[in-house]
Amino acid sequence: MTIVEISSYVFMIIGGVFYFLGGLGVLRMPDTFNRIQAGTKATTLGAFSLLIGVGIAHPEWLLKVVLIIIFIALSNPIGSSVLAKATYKAYGAPDNVVEDDLKEWFGGDDDAR
């Protein structure tokens, strides 16, 4: 066990733990918006950490790993925002909401489509 293997396995175990927590949050959160939050944030950090661990263990693959990390960092927040807006348009706000600022953008007058 050299120091390169030890640091690589540390990063990969951190990534696996965050993947586990993302799946657990998707399974156990009570509402759809909470599930969007848990299932996109935790898996983004888990993917970063696990792919950095693979790139430390094999430095000749570092360009492909950095390309995958950049694509996940660009695509996953866009997917989260689009899923949240689509859920709001399809099912409305949840029941225990305090202040609904999103109603004045696309409440019913078909603006900002």
Binding site: Y9, M12, L27, T40, W61, F71, S80
Partner: protein
């Protein structure tokens, strides 16, 4: 020692995948299933990268890049379907 650590990491990743699949089966709404499928796709991307580490073959990372692009497109298509109101003004 390396085999034990690989089993630990694969166990954590596979447990997260199993939870996402359970939510994808028993989601009360369609949007819950779309969210669970997005999470499942990101977990599969990381799992393909881990598989390339275990098999010592760098060709799996290309598969992970293409799978990531197709998973993002799939998420956008499902969200566009969920919005409804396809009147094309």
């Amino acid at each position: 020692m390396n085999d034990v650590l690989n089993y630990i990491v694969f166990g954590l990743v596979a447990t997260g995948m199993l939870f996402a699949v359970i939510r994808l089966i028993k989601g009360p709404k369609v949007s819950d299933r779309a969210v669970a499928l997005d999470t499942f796709n990101v977990i599969v991307i990381g799992s393909i990268g881990l598989l390339s580490f275990v098999f010592d073959n760098g060709l799996y990372l290309d598969i992970a890049i293409v799978y990531g692009i197709l998973a993002f497109l799939e998420t956008i298509v499902f969200a566009r379907y969920l919005e409804g109101n396809h009147d094309h003004r």
